[in-house]
Symmetry: C2
Subunit: 402 residues, 2 copies
């Protein structure tokens, strides 16, 4: 958990909040608590097709007759009060007229001319088939807390309670680039010693998964001039956060840090007490967070889940931004080659009837979690319990925090 804390201790304030029309706020984050602008239902409504009856003062005897004085379809209303002893044809969802205290389903009623006969059993039934105004939601009731990621169900609630626009945080724009003179964008440009860059695809997808907007600034060779140019692009781009991959080791061409500082970047941390993460630059550039990640895609994936992603969520006001924690039993023996630092390994979680189990992810599997192996222990027999952080998505976070 503390990894995110390291990353975000110097977070800038939240981005601006905008009023956004209801049809556009799916998966956006509420900037304030939202309450109902109107009750639901907004009027006493019939729950069956049938007859609304004014039974006031009427004896509930066998075969009681009511005079039918009108008809109310859904969407229409009756202008006058229903007098005792009168009935009104009404449709499901129709507005029950003043004076009516009961709806009886039509299949129980016998109609003859302007008279409807209702059996005593129906009259004596407790269920009036009337849903009272406000019985689902009261006006002013709190519907959604601030910092909530809006689900389809929330939008339905907000529409029903007469919201038109919702105040949500702006999605952070995240600029990213991948360094490495060996990287090309597409197979067409390959020569011996070159490879197609994979991290760009990974970051693009993961930044979206954390509900932010990625902007790819390209592949950058390990040369001062090229790095300086990408930092110029960054300054011009006015991003809310920035991510790089590669160029972070002790090597001769690992120039990221130097270029970052030359561009005016302020270093907050050069290492995290975890592996991967020991060569990870966390800094600030133009007041915005900068994450210099190592090059291997596995490390990028892990650090996105553990450090960068939670920071992106916090920046956009998500109330519960920290990694989603669970405990799981190892399905296999794990032997670590070192235990001087927290090891974070890609894992696959299984939900069993008596708890969660985890195994290490295969090289082709998108991990569903990351298993944490704290320093000081190298051997974990099968069945050992470990802490895992779920691969974050809004739905998985809701599931584990519900």
């Amino acid at each position: 958990m503390y990894m995110a804390a390291v990353a975000v201790k110097e977070m800038p304030g939240l981005p601006d909040a905008d009023l956004v029309t209801l049809s556009k706020v799916l998966m956006r984050v509420t900037a304030r608590t939202v309450t109902a602008l109107a009750a639901v239902p907004g009027y006493d409504q019939a729950l069956r097709d049938g007859y609304a009856l004014a039974t006031d003062g009427v004896q509930r005897q066998e075969g009681m007759q009511f005079r039918v004085v009108g008809e109310i379809a859904a969407g229409s209303q009756m202008s006058q009060r229903l007098e005792a002893g009168s009935a009104c044809r009404i449709m499901t969802g129709g507005m029950v007229p003043e004076g009516a205290d009961q709806v009886v389903p039509q299949e129980e009623c016998q109609v003859s001319g302007a008279t409807v006969t209702v059996p005593a059993d129906s009259l004596r039934r407790k269920n009036t088939f009337i849903e009272k105004k406000g019985s689902q939601i009261a006006k002013g009731e709190e519907l959604v807390e601030a910092g909530t990621i809006l689900q389809p169900e929330h939008l339905a609630l907000l529409a029903a309670t007469r919201h038109v626009e919702i105040e949500v945080y702006r999605r952070p724009r995240v600029g990213f680039f991948c360094t490495g003179s060996e990287l090309v964008d597409a197979p067409g440009a390959l020569r011996p010693g070159l490879k197609v860059s994979a991290n760009g695809y990974l970051l693009n997808g993961l930044i979206r998964q954390f509900l932010a907007e990625p902007e790819d600034l390209g592949r950058v060779a390990d040369r001062k001039g090229e790095l300086a140019r990408v930092f110029e692009k960054i300054s011009a781009g006015n991003f809310d956060a920035m991510i790089s991959t590669g160029g972070m080791g002790p090597g001769k061409y690992d120039l990221l840090e130097e270029a970052f500082v030359a561009a005016g970047g302020e270093i907050l941390s050069r290492t995290l007490p975890m592996r991967p993460g020991q060569s990870t630059l966390i800094g600030r550039l133009d007041g915005k967070p900068f994450f210099g990640l190592p090059g291997p895609p596995g490390a990028v994936r892990t650090l996105m889940n553990e450090v960068v992603g939670p920071a992106l969520l916090q920046m956009q006001g998500v109330r519960e931004y920290q990694p989603v924690v669970a405990r799981a039993r190892l399905r296999e023996r794990v032997e670590l080659r070192r235990s001087d630092v927290l090891l974070v390994k890609a894992g696959m979680l299984s939900m069993t009837e008596d708890g969660q189990e985890v195994r290490l992810a295969g090289r082709l599997e998108p991990p569903t979690c990351f298993a944490l192996f704290p320093p000081g222990r190298e051997v974990y027999p099968s069945g050992s319990e470990v802490e895992v952080h779920l691969s974050w998505s809004p739905e998985v976070a809701r599931l584990f925090r519900g």
Copy 2:
């Protein structure tokens, strides 16, 4: 599980597959198995900054010296073979030259002019710090099965193995409309007896969650003429599937079925053996599936998860399209008012250390699952085990099937 089977027994064939550029296939569904077009790494690569050595035939004695004949940065290569007794400066990710059999990290080496001295310990180390061509992924290896929803990690794999385009199924276009003369689109149009339509927002979000493309055909009054017009729009729209809400009861203004048939629709089923779902029309229109759902948003939410969503997934070729099943212990006593049919109730799942627990969802909570109560039993004490279907998302499905 059989609900989906009822819905989809008459499914049309899969939609067309298109070749789509790699940067656009996130969350799309693979139309065929994808194999590696190239090995990863594509060449023997150095895992450390240091010296690549040709030790062939060389005695691994104390303080062995090698003649430095060149330098290989990442992205460059050496044209000639490294002769025995020679060394070459190399960077992490650099292409190990032919003839070299070991990389020694630079911090272990002593350089003097054109000579590098390497200690015996380094020469005797098992780890060569060379990652052999194809050691991560072999050329031709199967990477992703057909019917897989592509995750960010898949895209990284596909890029690294030199894919430029991937054959994915077209996303189904789903036209939907909400019937009810009481419905308006926005609060501005409200009069007594009217309400703002919530189902449109719900369907729009849920159709997206099931990876399809929603197209809102609007609110439709309970009148034959209006219904006929929306069915004309549907015919013109050439959708892959269609959904309506409301107009499904036995009421006088429940005209959906009549309008559907008048428009040439073929009814496959008028009811499902579940509640909600007893008034649910499943049919075919212009050869495409049509789902006539009831009006209450809770019923719409449930039927989307249990019936329509799985059908949409199947239509777009998702291999595992059925509801995601788990078992959970009830956190509360549940007493049902009737048990003549399978009851499906919105629930909130909790992941505990010894298994899943479930409670019924509150009226303002987007459910994380749906609990199944089969017919024949009315009382479930707290702690009873029930089957639940998870609220579907690609990430939740992966988690429960990993």
